[in-house]
Each structure stands twice: as C-alpha cells, then as structure tokens.
C-alpha cells in the first residue's frame, strides 16, 4: 500500500512537470487542440453523413456506427493521454539518458511509460465521454449486464494498449527503433474507427484476433449492443492477460540485454 501511494506521488509529480512543459508552448497548444477538434469533427460528420444516407452500415444504424467511432476515440485518447511519453522514448535511448532513468529508485515505467501525461487529450476526453453518453441514450434498451461488459472491455482495451506500448519500449531498448513502431500501432488501431465487419476476410480475422484491433476497439461496443457471445468476451480477457504478460517478459529481456546506447 505504501509503495502504491509513493508511485502515485511520483506519477503526479511527473504529470505536474508535463503540464508545466506543455503550457510553455501556448501557440502550439492552440494549434494542436484546433487540429484534434477538427479531426474529430470531420470524421464524426463523415460517419454521420455517410450512414445517415445509407441508413445501415454492415447491420449497424447511424447511432451505432457513431457509437463505434466514439468508443474508438475514448480508448485512443485515454491511451495517448497516459502513454504520450513513449513517443519521446527514442531520444532517451539513443542519447544514453535512459541509463539515468534506470538507476532511479522507482520503476522506469513511471518515467518512460506514464511520465508525460498529455493534458490536451484530457480536455478532448470530456466531450467524447459526453457524446458517448448521449448516443448510448439514443441507442436505448441497454441492459445492465451489457453495460458492465462494455466497461470491462474498455478496461481490457486499455490493458492491450498498455501491452502494445510496453512492446514498443522493449523493442526501442533493444533496437532504438521507436518512431515507426508507435506510428504503426496508431495506424493499426485506426482500423477500429469503424466496425470490424466492414473488412473482408482474411483482413478482418487478422485484425481482430492476431493483431487484436477488433478486440480493443469493436468488442466493447458490440458487447453493449448485446452482439458478443460470452466465450468471445472471455477470450478477450484471456488475450489481454497473455499480451500483457508477454510484453512484460519482453521488457525484462530487453533490460537484461541492454548495454546502453549513445552517451
């Protein structure tokens, strides 16, 4: 318990530093916020415009299609909010400064994974949550158990996202390659903006179960609509557990092999 409180204190300290550093570039904040809002609105209007016209997209009505998109945004934004520091990991590795993180008396993930909370994403998360709530009411007739599955699968998606980010950190430590890996992760999860049913096999199968974008982005909404069978829900939890364990093992291996780069 004591160590958890200590870790939280360190996390909040890093978050405070991050907020201070973000607020140094006020013009950048305005531009980036504008860009994020613009991107969200344009996709939102596009999905709304398209599915309103077609009435149905692979069996989903306009409210459901938008709900998929909003759920994608919640998961993606929360992930970026928490793990923004991973995007800055490469300079730390190639300059040799990672050594100074590793010798500190706290878990390195507090610095290299969670050490750069993105407050711009925190601001974006508020309208996403409100809109999701609004569209959930519009969909209507949601049972308590499905709502429970929805939240569990949201957390499950965040666990898978954590595993992906730890994989990126491990790979970065071993090879110094971070930038492309993290951007590929972003592009992969972008496939989850729309229901996975739109993709043709074998693409759908690959991006649902092998690279579990579907489990991350589509399964929570499908569970809310009552379209996900219990075995698939169980499989999702099992997979996230396996992925997280595997990523931790890879990180342990990376650290064991690490001999410091640059300097």
């Amino acid at each position: 318990m004591k160590s958890i409180i200590r870790n939280f204190k360190i996390f909040f300290l890093f978050s405070k530093f991050s907020l201070k550093s973000i607020s140094q570039a006020r013009l950048g904040i305005i531009f980036f916020m504008f860009g994020k809002i613009l991107r969200f609105l344009m996709f939102f209007l596009f999905v709304f415009f398209l599915v309103s016209k077609t009435k149905i997209l692979k069996g989903y009505n306009v409210n459901q299609a938008i709900f998929f998109y909003l759920t994608f945004n919640i998961i993606d934004t929360t992930t970026q909010l928490l793990f923004r520091e991973v995007y800055r990991f490469r300079p730390l590795v190639v300059s040799g400064q990672l050594d100074t993180v590793l010798i500190k008396p706290f878990h390195p993930f507090l610095r290299i994974l969670l050490g750069g909370v993105d407050f711009l994403d925190l601001l974006m998360l508020i309208p996403y949550l409100l809109l999701t709530l609004f569209f959930a009411f519009k969909i209507g007739s949601i049972s308590t158990i499905n709502l429970l599955f929805y939240f569990s699968l949201l957390i499950n998606a965040l666990i898978i996202a954590t595993a992906f980010h730890v994989f990126v950190l491990a790979l970065g430590t071993m090879t110094t390659e971070v930038d492309h890996t993290i951007m590929i992760y972003r592009d992969l999860i972008s496939l989850g903006r729309f229901p996975m049913e739109i993709y043709q096999e074998p693409i759908r199968g690959i991006f649902t179960f092998i690279v579990p974008v579907g489990i991350m982005m589509s399964f929570p909404s499908k569970a809310l609509f009552g379209l996900l069978s219990p075995p698939l829900i169980l499989f999702s939890f099992l997979l996230s557990f396996i992925l997280l364990t595997a990523s931790m093992k890879l990180w342990a291996l990376a650290i064991k092999k690490y001999q410091s780069w640059g300097g």
């Binding site: 980036f32 390659e177 590929i184 992969l188 496939l191 903006r193 693409i203």
Partner: protein
Amino acid sequence: MKKCLEVFRITLGQYFAYRLNFILWRFRMILGLFIIYFLWQSVFEERESLFGYSKTQMLTYILLSSLISNFVLATRTVDVAGEILSGDIINYILKPISFFKYYLARDFTDKLLNIFFASIEILLIIILFKPPVFFQNNVSVYALFIIFIFLGTLISFFVNLSLSFIGFWSNEIWAPRFIYFILIFFLSGTYFPLDILPKPIYYFLLLTPFPYFYYLATKIYLQGISHNLFVGVLISLIWVYLSYNLAKFLWQKGLKSYSFFGR
C-alpha cells in the same frame, strides 16, 4: 540539370540505406488505404449506386486517388523546418544549386519511389480483392489528367515549403503541419469524392487549393472532360502562382531575418 540528377541519385542512395524506414512507411500507407477501401466496399455491398457514383466508379476513385496522392503529396520538404531550427539549412544555402531546385529534385525521388511501391500495392489489392475497376478509353483525358497531377504536385510542393519556412520565425513547426494534414485528409478527397458534399460546400472547396492535389485529376479520369474543367485548370494555375510567390516571399524574408550560432 546535372546537379539535380546528382541530388536525385544521392537521395535514392539515402532511401536504400534506410530501407526498413521506407518499408514501414509503405506498410502504414497500406493500412490507411484499407480503411477507406473496405469502408466504401461495404457501403456498396447492398446497393448499386450512391451519391451519383456506381460501385465501380467509387472503388476506382478510392484506389486511383490513393495512387495519385502517393505522388502528389510525397515530399522531403518536411525536413526543411527541422533544418532551419538546427542550423543545417546553412549547408544548403552554401551549395552551388538553387535551394528550391535542390528540394524539387529530392521530392521527385521521393515521389517516384512512393508511386512505384503504391502501384504494386494497389495492383495486389486488385488481384487479391478483385474490385471492379474502371478503365478510361478516351486517350485525350489522360493528357488533362497528367496536367492536373503536375499542377497539384507544384501546389503541394510550394505549400509544403511555405509551411516549413515557419521555422524561420517560430519553433512551433509541427502544429501547423498537423492541421494541414488533417485538412488534406478531408478536403482533398481522400475519404470521399468531394462532389458528394452539398453543392455550396463543394463549390467553396473548389476555390481552395485542396481539390487540385488529386481530386480533380481522379474525377477527370472517371468522368472525362467537361467544359467547366477549364475553370479548374485556371484556378489551379492561380494556386500555383500564389503558392510559388508565397514560398519565395517567405524564403527571402526568412533568410534576411535568420541567424544561427554554433556551426
């Protein structure tokens, strides 16, 4: 010309030295295309036509606009902003070649490589998923098609350079580019042909540079030559003129105000 060819050769060499980077970049591009392609394919599964487009026309639009965008938007000018901030730009000013020509030659290498690989990828999509594809039989259409691609390429080059020249006055070089990418994504017709939008919005967009990157070239390929396309040629020529003069103005102003220590 000889100097430009030499720049072309060196840039090509750099790409072959960092092969993995380029392969990962192409992988990201394919993922982006998958989203758009499968979205429209699933929309057209249950209907013959929508927004005045048949399935063949729409899927051809998506594949062809993606192919052209790989040529028109491919650029190395993104590096310029970083080179201004790091002081590396001084090396280019000292070179016995015009800076604009130097980057045009670099861009040309980038464009050729990207279109070469994009052609193979799109060919693979056609072979694997067998979408109906429209072939234009009217040879004269191809002449105008190439003119529009050429004009779009010039506009894109000068706008990209202008964005990078922001580095002469500000450290905030990524935020404006982030907004620019988002605008291109939606207003240039990456996700949908622009003429499916309500008419007032569509006509307004035709006054901006975005449709001239690749939307109009693709539209000409699909729908042939119409008399109002010459208005399009005129507006795109105006945008070439304006963007060139803006880039030139920013370059001259920027160089006058630029100073750098420590090199």
